[in-house]
Symmetry: C2
Subunit: 571 residues, 2 copies
């Protein structure tokens, strides 16, 4: 047996053993594989007390309030979420590292702190926070799905973990990713595949797909993902969550493992995922407030701004004007996403805001530049890790490509990177495109009627709701904003409904925009999509985290009002 396989078997055994026996779902209580929607299982499985259910179904806001006034102890809250996380894991396979004792010990320390000092340790006091596998915690593996990295326990915390601990949070599990992180689904040879809680035949998205599935199961109130091309927003969208991709330099990344380290151009960033925008805000405000530029040289010393959150640069949030991008000029979204955009448009109009069409420019060129920059040396980067154990490079997310032991056979590949000079030319082109797009945005001032350019862009997060495993073949709707380094946040709007999401696209008058457009259109299956969360993305300018969060709150309230009054079918 190959050395890498024996390591994997050992690791799998170790994970199994790290689950407290009492938290194992009995074989006969597990839902059958044919049961696709497992979101209701935790409530029904009788493994969680009513208080544990109450805790795990509370919002971050409520959790923090109850933790702060000691109504709930951190040990209680952490235990409840840990149990639920492990139950969830047995249904959707979302976890990588489990360390119950360590987390509960930390929770207990926080309870003692609160008792002794009479005040919280920080704004996230007592809150369990789940972390994407790559985020180093001292003494725990960060394998990122590489067999070669099994047993290489982190010798110190990543900066973010130190910061979260200083804020009072309780890091309690690590979550699944695709090998290399450079896929928009979640499968690797060690931990296998994470599936979507709303429909296990569908992908949870990726690369932060473990987080997406876990939080959707309410196995964590708040998680941290990373996003280089959509890896926070895609799983958040597919799993019906809120997920923020901050601009580079707002959340500390130092001390995590990653792919393509040293690639200084289109950077991966860490950001929050939660089932409320308030959860996202709590994370960002606390983490930025921790002044982590004193710890990570790539963090911009830009404090959290309440002025910006209160939209002082956006008419204080009154009479905003949004630009809706119905498609990116490359692929028209499938019917559920089109309905999602229509709902948002109507909701915003009803709430007294303006909406104009956003014209995409040069998305194809931006995407090509981003792809080119990564491809400059991505294979060399993977090869440098894989060669140790002659471990295969996972080259597909399709279930058919995986054998009975959960292994992907891998592909032969030759690292075929480009020269530094060629890379510089791509980076120069990217800068020119960023400048052009900025001018394009500014020029909308003549069309909004508000005297300002559009306040934010509303667009799809993906052209579809969660597709079948192996079917998520494009990250174009998210990656373009990484290329431009724009703050973007995804939010849920409704759920796909086969009875109303009927394809009415007029192919006679509107020919396909591209081959991809044709494929995407043909891929649509109203039956399979039924019930999957519909999400849209709200996009602000670079470093507009505070404003984007506030505008998502505004949109969310508008959607809720609209749906309450008129249902989820736009006029």
């Amino acid at each position: 047996m190959a050395d890498w396989k024996s390591r994997v078997y050992e690791k799998r055994e170790q994970i199994k053993n790290s689950i407290p026996p009492g938290w194992v779902v009995p074989q006969d209580a597990l839902p059958p594989n044919s049961q696709l929607d497992v979101t209701a299982f935790p409530q029904r499985c009788r493994m969680l007390s009513s208080k544990e259910l109450q805790i795990t179904e509370s919002s971050v806001t409520k959790l923090l309030a109850n933790l702060a006034d000691a109504r709930w102890s951190s040990v209680e809250v952490t235990t409840a979420f840990y149990k639920r996380a492990i139950i969830a894991h047995q249904l959707v396979n979302c976890l990588t590292e489990i360390f119950v004792d360590q987390a509960l010990q930390r929770a207990e320390e926080l309870d003692i702190y609160l008792k002794e000092h009479g005040h919280v340790m920080g704004p996230l006091h007592g809150l369990p926070v789940s972390l994407k596998d790559q985020i180093n915690i001292r003494g725990i593996d960060s394998t990122m799905g590489y067999a070669s990295w099994i047993g290489k326990k982190a010798d110190k915390n990543s900066v973010l973990v130190d910061v979260l601990e200083s804020l009072g949070a309780v890091p309690f599990v690590k979550t699944n990713v695709p090998q290399t992180l450079m896929w928009a689904e979640t499968f690797n040879n060690i931990f296998g595949r994470t599936v979507n809680p709303y429909n296990r035949a569908l992908t949870s998205g990726g690369s932060s797909g473990g987080e997406g599935a876990l939080i959707a199961m309410r196995g964590s109130p708040l998680g941290v993902g990373s996003d280089i091309g959509g890896s926070i927003r895609i799983p958040a969208a597919f799993c019906g969550l809120y997920g923020l991709r901050p601009s580079a330099g707002r959340v500390p990344y130092a001390g995590c493992v990653n792919s393509m380290e040293g690639q200084d151009s289109v950077l991966s960033v860490l950001g929050p995922m939660s089932d409320s925008i308030q959860g996202v805000k709590a994370f960002m405000q606390a983490v930025i407030g921790a002044r982590s530029w004193m710890l990570d040289p790539l963090v911009i010393p830009k404090p959290w701004s309440n002025d910006e959150y209160n939209l002082v640069n956006h008419n204080n949030g009154q009479n905003l004007c949004f630009g809706i991008m119905w498609n990116d000029g490359l692929v028209v979204p499938q019917p559920p996403i089109r309905r999602g955009l229509e709902i948002v448009k109507q909701a915003l109009l009803d709430a007294g805001h303006k909406v104009i069409d956003w014209q995409p420019i040069k998305h194809k060129e931006i995407l090509a530049t981003v792809d080119g920059i990564w491809a400059a040396a991505d294979l060399e980067d993977y090869e440098a890790v894989l060669r140790d154990l002659k471990e295969p490079l996972v080259s597909s997310m399709t279930p058919a490509s995986v054998d009975a032991d959960g292994f992907h056979p891998g592909v032969e590949f030759a690292a075929d990177g480009i020269s530094a000079f060629e890379l510089w030319q791509l980076q120069k082109e990217r800068r020119a495109l960023r400048t052009e797009y900025l001018g394009h945005w500014n020029a909308t001032a003549s069309a909004t009627g508000t005297g300002r350019p559009v306040d934010a862009i509303i667009c799809p997060t993906a052209a579809y709701v969660a597709p079948k495993h192996g079917g998520n073949n494009s990250a174009a709707y998210t990656k373009v904003w990484n290329g431009l380094d724009y703050t973007s946040c995804t939010l849920p709007v409704a759920q796909a409904d086969e009875s109303i999401d009927v394809d009415t696209r007029n192919f006679v008058d509107e020919p396909f925009l591209s081959l991809n457009d044709k494929t995407t259109s043909e891929m649509y299956d109203a039956r399979t999509s039924h019930g999957a969360p519909i999400a849209i993305q709200l996009v602000g300018r670079t470093m507009e985290e505070e404003a984007v969060i506030k505008m998502v709150e505004i949109v969310e309230v508008a959607i809720r009002e609209y749906v309450m009054n008129k249902g989820a079918t736009p006029a």
Copy 2:
């Protein structure tokens, strides 16, 4: 004759013709070549009226005040500086582009604006500002010393020029640079060599050497240079000025020409040079206040902070603790610089501040990483420009290498860049070094006695005062801060004095640190250095522009007090 040479002759002729005949210094009035210090020439040449002398010897603060209340018109002020700039040019060869009519027309528009509106157009109203050659002004060449770029007039303004104009400034000349900008002296085949006004046998430094010489001659009150490894600070230091290298992302760079475009790691930045720190502040506060992140996607949306200027993070400027780096572990500075550091130390102690020694760590590694990143593809970059006209690459700043027509013969070279993957490894290493240095800085908290890490580092700008042409062989003392992206500002302390700057270094007990150290030590010639400005550098953290400016003000006042009381010989 080579095509590139004929273009150069044409360009030289055109520059000569752009000087108004009345501003040409008569041949017999020019100082003889043997006269080295020409700083007093403008006062004595009788070509400037007493009012013009008064204007050109006023500080930026006074100029802005007198312009704002219409005591002096912009036309008067611009004319005075233009005349003096052109007189200076005939002595130190500092200009590249001259456009008198355009600048005076702009000045007149500003005078009319003030009259009509009763208020200034912006905080730099009416002030002439000189620009390094690479900063694009619509309709004017930006050759950067490349014959190939002669006649390629910019089709639009750089963002900074648009911003300066919106602030009321009057861009009025462009200034000389070395070909490629990647030298710390100033010579190219088109415009020739810029010399130091304090001693024309010495270099003005580079690459913003035209700015340094011009401002030292009071031919401009405020100039803009660029700095990728010291190119603002070195000429500012050699010419007795204040020069700030801001962190990347504070001053808009978009729309300038440059070397190595697309190199996204160790970035060139634009910054101010002036003969007062108040001039530096006026520029930074105005430019940052213009919110140019709306125009240049690489500008960080971080507004000017009066809190940071008032040192709220540094005990409000009281009882500061500075770390003095006496040498960088590689090269011990020559006697005048050592005296400069001693003066600053004594001055700060007298002013009630603390001073501890700064231990440099890993400067050699940081410098190697920076050099490696540039060398990844620098030659390919130059080659892409030079091949058009088979123009030579200038490979030395030594006068002996230049022929009677002012041409450097160039060198054969083979572009020998590295792969993108190799570049990523260097960039990864740089990030690790930045993280380590940040930790090192933070760790000084245990040694300062203030409860804070050192508030700033004080160190040499170079190991020597301005050396002879061709002798500036290292930018180590500045480049290390580019590698770390720390805010740094150089300020003048005194002038070299052969009677006191005697080398007392004890070579018996303290052996040379390196071969470079030995060369630098042997190079010292008290006679030649006599009269040259001594400068030091104040270094803050990334993005601490406001705080660095304030601390330079504090140091400057302390030095002035000290010298007034005790002279320029430290105890």
